[in-house]
Amino acid sequence: MTAVREPVSGDTSYRFSVNGEAREVAVPGMRRLLDVLREDLGLTGTKEGCGEGECGACSVIVDGLVVDSCLVPVCQVDGSDVRTVEGLSDAQTEALNPLQQAFLEAGGAQCGICTPGMLMAAQAYLDAGGGSDEEDIRSAIAGNLCRCTGYTKIIEAIELAALERGGRA
């Protein structure tokens, strides 16, 4: 990534919230949300793996739905609520959220490059009321490729997080 890009003619102003914070960028409307996050807002937690919506490393949550930010032009998120991996842990204490903690304990992250996208897909699933059923979890993360784990411990981590949330409810 580079420093924040300079505005040029043809740029349009877009307002949306990122991890609960109001943001405004002046960029071409077709600029990828991924580039806006990484390069214009300095949020490099979201990764690029393929640039064509296959790997899910760039997954973020837009208005509650998990999307590939490499396929979303920024004009589509005007007025939306965007959540990235940087917004998962506690803003004040930096404590890991229950899903992140479950990933840490179960061994769900190895090289870590798919992890931010995987977490966002899993978080969207849990936020939508997803439970600990293995098949449901598998389909929730079917758009996120991981080459390290065989998915075994990722699925376990999401199960753990779902069970823990169930216990608290």
Binding site: A3, G45, K47, E54, G107, C111, I113, G143
Partner: protein, 787 residues
Amino acid sequence: MSQVAGPRRALTDAPVVLPVTVPGQAPIPTLGRARPAPLRREGPEKLTGKARYTDDLVFPGAWYGATIRSTEAHARLLGLELDPDFDWSSVVVMTAADIPGDNIVSSLKEDMPALAAGVIRHHAEPVALVAAPDKATLREARRRIQLSTEPLEPVFDPLASNQQFAAYEISRGDLDAGFAEAALVVEGEYRVGHQEQLYIENQAMIAEPRPDGGITITGSMQCPYYVHEALTRALALSDSQAVITQAETGGGFGGKEEYPSILAIHAALLAQRVGKPVRMIYDRHEDISATTKRHPAVVRHRTGVDADGRLVAQDIEIVMDGGAYCTLTPVVLSRGVLHAGGPYECPNVRIRGRAMATNTPPNGAFRGFGAPQVEFAAELQVARVADQLGVSPALLRERWLYREGGVTPTGQVLRESVAAAEVLERAVESAEYERVREVSHQTRAIRWAQAAEAGRGVRSTRIHAAPGIGIALAWHGAGFTGRGEVRLASVAGVELRDDGVIRVLIANTEIGQGTKTIFPMLAAEALGIDPGEVEMAPVDTSIVPDSGPTVASRTAMIVGGLVIRAAQKLRATVEARCGAPFAESYREDARVNGATRIDQQFEPYPDVDFDDVTYQGDAYPAFGWACAVARVEVDLDTGGVHVRSVVSADDIGRVIHPILAEGQVEGGTLQAVGYATIEEMKVEQGRYLNDRLSTYLIPTSMDAPDITAILVEKPFSGEPHGAKGVGELPMDVVAPAIIDAIHDAVGAWITQLPATPERVLSALETLASVDRGTEGATLERGPEGAA
């Protein structure tokens, strides 16, 4: 067909519980024993997005670099044509003529140029470099550069190539006498294609000019000192002028063993010319098109079995496709040759291997490193022998496998740490192999009866999915081959700094496997302190010694042993000075006596020796052993193979961290599932056709089987913790288990990986036509199908 005269017991009736005797083995070491394990050290950074991978790093004023690549497989390079309508003063363009040092990417042979000069030898070969201050200008400049070339005749078939990178031959016993003894001879030819490592983080490198005229490299890599050697050579730098630092690395699997060297040279050339940092971050398309793959191979087997069902002769021939340049091909082939017989003792063996040059992108390191190709062939061969003998494949392996005292084709006596029988037993038991196999045979018999009734060959009108179970056994030589570790002479350090901080100094990289987590554990145990009190020095060649590459499953085993020994010496030094336990005295010792650093160099294992010329002796100090049992479901209408479950029992010597070790088995297993079923690189005129992630498929969570990892510990006495490495074993063993399961399901042998729906359907059609007696196909039927 001959019959086996030996016992025909079914494992379900009388489980084969083999006594595991370890005569004369050293006491079981305590270091590194599995225990409540610490959490992944860099886990929180990876889970919060704070971890900085190469493309996440900000270098103010950095330019962007790109590679101009050939679009032909073989051509004479006449020059570059730069569009005169473009403002070339705004960018930098470099060719081979601009390389200050040798135009060579330092590796085993001196054949690969950093930039092609004179001749282009493969598609996507780097020919020129271009850098620009912004991405838009860079894109435009790339578009305005054309290569001027004259086509040359390419060679794509390794069997037709007359340029050889390496050849090895091993023999033991008397092959002719062995085959003369044989009551059954089974021949087979097996083929495997390219496989892409497909780390999710593409290759990425940033070069920054140094005030001393040198270059600092920050990038995604497995082996910083390989990059260091390549950079000093190509840019004519002194050792201190090249500083290599590893950024957080998003997977490697061998793909970031040698390739980062050329990329670092490219970025450094541009950075030196521009006088600013230059970023070279590949996109997925470039990464797949241009970087190394697993070597394709053709493996031919001839196996002789005597009337008692004993393995008496193996004649094996391997041909690997090296691609256009040598890279690591000779050592990949060497490992292939040394593993080709499989984990079975045979008195009469000949193994011949050769690696040939073709006009395709160079092939290189990928988890398993030559072993997955040959062990697929070896295991299929065993499975076909079992099928022809009508015995359980598990039982046949149990009879043939290596035990303590066994002698390998190189004459190596397996004196210790042999767990072939144990992993077989554990996997067979856990997967209930014989019971499930019985059920799938009954299902198949019913289906065939229905099909025969309906006159529809092997397919039934009522059953559309066929279940099957398969098994495979594998061995994997631990650490570098032959005298490799002796030549590397790796050094690892442990230091107590004057501020009381304890650091491990190694050049081995964290690439997902857990290096940063296990080394503090190993050092802390030797020092008698908590792992939290041990830090890892940054992987930076100006700080850490050359502890060798992060490859060959050697990090935990070899470098782990060095770190334990260094820590033991540090502890002894401090305790001798203070007369008190290290844990209580080290902070005070550092304050009073200043820093203490111990560097430990690899010392050859006593009584382990290998002759690189005759290929006789101890090819590896020890072997890891693995057994996999796979269950599949074959869709009889589409030919699709769904791998339902895999049980993999892996002997890794000593489990240091159970969660991380299981993670290696699970991840390696899924890569092998991909290798066996869906990962196929289509090559046309030397170019990869499916060079995108939308066309080169790897398994998703929906494709992944339920994986059970069973860790077996048969320690290696040559290392204080007894570890033998875990990364590659699971990659060797799973693909043949799946292909065996497909045979169990449908009765057809798939001899070429991957078992795509097209290949499975075609095998089913052949089988059906054999049934109808309309074709002279040679595929064998399952035992109950034999007349």
